[in-house]
């Protein structure tokens, strides 16, 4: 019995280590590529770097205007995330709670899901024509709107189970106590589903941060390049891939995601523990 427990522990430990290596190795490999010099990058690569340089990081900022791409990515991601969260949470709550005439709830939910599952390229061309008609193509607005479009259905569906799972009695008590609809939603409902909001915010942030297709179609000027667009220009069919710079850009682009996830985790943990203790 004790031996059984021990061997299960060893198995669990081994699996954890393997999963950890599997997960962290790409990050290690990216860091390791970003600090090797060009000569090493075009010869056979060993597991550990044989040279050290920060040239690729410097080149990104000096030659590729990467700082501008970072600023653009942050601006587009946070703006689209804010709008998507506000609109998505409101829609999701309405869909979870409101009674619809003519059994429209199912079709509406299916319609929302369709926006998410239809290939993005299907929206790209009609949106391009629309944005062009409104003369918006030279701005960041088309990309922001496209990111909102991608994230809203995801937020609605993700949050639907959180809102549906809330006991209606809590909301009824607040209403009896005189809370308006807005107060009820903002002060009672939202804090109760904070773990869900945090998780969906992290996932939507990542979708927007890494989005490429709408960016490449809508962006007309290098001054509006996002990080994925900027990195894509370093690997073209006509020239050799600049692996060092691509890896350096990948490492830099990881930082905001990691910081956002760490920051959001605070809300995740707070939300999970709230209501756990009866006061």
């Amino acid at each position: 019995m004790r031996r059984n427990k021990k061997s299960r522990k060893i198995l669990r430990g081994t699996c954890s280590v393997l999963i950890l290596i599997w997960t962290l190795f790409p990050v290690y490999w990216m860091i390791s590529l970003s600090i090797r010099d060009d000569a090493e990058l075009i010869s056979s690569l060993s597991l550990f770097p044989g040279s050290f340089t920060v040239k690729h990081f410097a080149q990104l900022f000096v030659r590729n205007n990467f700082l501008m791409a970072i600023i653009n990515s942050l601006y587009i991601t946070f703006t689209s995330l804010a709008f998507a969260l506000i609109l998505g949470l409101i829609c999701s709550y309405i869909l979870a709670r409101a009674r619809f005439k003519y059994k429209l709830k199912g079709p509406v939910l299916f319609w929302v899901l369709l926006v998410r599952v239809i290939p993005p390229i299907a929206f790209a061309l009609p949106l391009y024509i629309m944005m062009n008609k409104f003369s918006l193509l030279n701005t960041k607005i088309p990309v922001i709107l496209a990111h909102i479009l991608v994230n809203i259905p995801f937020i609605i569906w993700y949050m639907l189970s959180f809102f549906s799972g809330l006991p209606e009695e809590v909301e009824e008590s607040a209403e009896i106590d005189g809370a308006s609809d807005m107060q009820l939603f903002a002060r009672i409902v939202i804090p109760l589903v904070m773990p869900g909001i945090t998780a969906v915010a992290i996932l939507s942030f990542m979708t927007s941060w890494n989005e490429y297709l709408y960016g490449v179609i809508f962006v007309q000027s290098p001054s509006n390049f996002t990080i994925p667009l900027s990195l894509s220009t370093l690997n073209s069919e006509q020239e050799l891939a600049q692996w060092g710079s691509i890896a350096a850009g990948g490492i830099i682009s990881l930082v905001p995601i990691a910081l956002f996830a760490i920051f959001a985790q605070i809300f995740l943990i707070q939300g999970l523990s709230s209501g756990a203790v009866k006061e």
């Binding site: 075009i42 061309l125 894509s232 073209s236 069919e237 006509q238 050799l240 891939a241």
Partner: protein, 367 residues
Amino acid sequence: MDAINSVKGAFESENNCIIEVLGLEASDLKQKISLDSQNKVGAYDLAMADDPWMPELYEAGLFANLTELGYTPDPDFVEESLAIGMHPYSNGDIYTLPFAGNVQLFFYNQKIFDDNNFSIPDSWEGVLEIAKAVHGKDGKVGYVIRGQQGNPIVSDYLPILWAYGGNVFDENWNVIVDSNEAKEALELYIELLENGANYEKNDIVAAVSDGKAAMSLGWPSWYISGETATAAYAPIPGKATDSGKKYATGMIGNWMMGVTTNSANKELAMKFLIYVTSAEAQKTAAEFGGVPTRVSVFTDSELNKKYPYFTAILEGTENSVIRPRTPLRTDIETAYGAELSSAISGTKSIDQALADAKAAIEAIMNK
């Protein structure tokens, strides 16, 4: 992009304008300029395009007619490069000018050749002999093919097909990819693979320049070597066997630049186009990885000292072959590439793969 950025400053100050350069990956570029061509006023005054896209883009009316705008052909451009800018090909009006003189070349490791006293082969039989002699010795690879489906394998195989006297279409646009010449060429291609390896472009450059592989085919824009280069370029062998007939085999792949039809600044755009493709600009751009398209730049003695492979590019361009001029090229390449890939992986026999390729290309042409 570095090449354009290196020369645009002088034009900007002289003409009191700002030139914004949007650098994109090739497929994104094609998608973007095609989309923009639908707009009344385009976002771009000038656009670059790869030579095989030209029939499609010319037919779509993407580029303004430079001849109608008053441009007269400059004889300093390599004739074969300038011909790509004409629509119809080689004898029509000029729509685009050659910006980057890419042409496919024989790419080899100088040290391996020197150490073994090999001379540059002028036939594919000779290439195979060297590959056999090198392959496996000290872990070296004889010949590297670029056998990934689609454009890579088609671009890599066509020069061999041409050296055997074969082609994709005959002069009446009949599909002849299953000819005896094609079968022999594919047999040799597979034999080269047996005495080598199948890598993608970055690994090809790494292997050949590092001395791990002896030979391959490559494009000058992949590997801009200096005086200390370990790898070198030469024109692609034009004969199947030493005693065989010599054919033109260098696949031309120039990057062209033209004024967009919906440009709001056509005159200034054409002025910049003429400037950026001038000999003076090309000499400056060469220092930043630019590949010239003018005879006077290729033969410039100072540049030749620094870039000795310029002679090979010029020779390769003058003896180059143009890919089939059809707007359906992309579909053809995809279908052809899939069948060639099946043959080299052994999924299909050579006969079967080429027969299937013929059927697929005919179906595309008859659409």
